[in-house]
Assembly symmetry: C2
Homo-oligomer: 198 residues x 2
């Protein structure tokens, strides 16, 4: 089992959301989807927003790096005109649906709205359309996603991320072993399927 | 040709210093060694020292990540008791010797003193011993390394790194294409040997 911690606003999370389910299938590993909010984590670490924004050189490099990675992975890519995008509503829906068979496809569609279509992902209309396309009861799910209990559950999940030592996304856990960044997804998968020494 | 920008105090530079010459040989690529100082770059970006030090969680993760990478690459590894170590003298010697056939071995030995033996790398005695082991005229090289002209040349090289948009190390350039981090060394090599489209 691999725990997959990510934020829909995070560009490197986009790469992992698009890749993880096929990789996990190939390795026979179960994915546990753990949406959380990077904003409160970054603020607790002393950054106002994404650390990429603090340095123009770094942001410029990140977009070039993303274009190359998406090319290598055969993924669509558009530099987002808003970054990082607000991602609270899709995170709340993902928290509700984390154990459902449709969760991977839901997350991929939301990520593509952000990083391929370059549109906002936090509007109820946008998320309802995605749920509808998946044949799901959009109104019912949105109502539950917006409930105080689910709002509180996302806060608790983000607090848990902080307590686990997560400082960025994507982050993967296999047991207590932490892997940070899309560049470590393959290592995390290999670790999840390592032979257990006796 | 691949330009290899690195700092002897940088742990991810250690991985690339140890790997790059064999990789380049396999690919038929020439390495141009570009030592520089990360300290002035970090300060210009608003950090007092390595950004890893600003966050205890991140530093803890980096050491775990380094142990795993060194294991994968079959490299010795010791968490440095001083980090980042002062690296001015070996950088000055590397600047002098950048075009010499011994430069790769010199850099590997200095890096192993830092990240395997966990000892300081900025003392004249330490660097003289490395040069001596390589059969080089240590006193003469150290004298030239410490000359005002060479000191100025290292400042100029660091200023050039900043003007190229370098914000960390290791950084690789193939022409104008920039690659940041040991994780991108293989991509940079592949880019250096790509077929030129007509």
């Amino acid at each position: 089992m691999i725990e997959f911690w990510f934020d829909f606003g995070s560009n490197y999370s986009y790469l992992s959301v698009m890749r993880i389910e096929a990789l996990a299938r190939r390795h026979g590993v179960t994915v546990t989807w753990r949406p959380f909010l990077l904003g409160p984590i970054f603020r607790s670490l002393g950054w106002e927003s994404s650390p990429f924004l603090a340095q123009a050189q770094k942001l410029r490099y990140v977009w070039r790096d993303m274009a190359r990675r998406c090319d290598a992975y055969d993924l669509p890519w558009t530099v987002p005109t808003t970054f990082p995008r607000r991602s609270i509503l899709p995170a709340r829906v993902t928290l509700l649906g984390a154990g459902e068979p449709w969760i991977g496809e839901f997350c991929r569609q939301v990520m593509q709205i952000n990083f391929a279509a370059d549109r906002d992902i936090d509007g109820a209309d946008t998320i309802a359309r995605v749920l509808d396309r998946l044949g799901l009861p959009a109104n019912d799910l949105l109502e539950r996603a917006l409930s105080p209990a689910n709002k509180e559950a996302l806060h608790a999940q983000t607090a848990r991320a902080a307590s686990l030592g997560i400082f960025g996304a994507p982050t993967f856990f296999v047991g207590d072993e932490m892997f940070w960044g899309d560049d470590r997804l393959d290592d995390a998968m290999a670790f999840a399927t390592r032979p257990i020494s006796s």
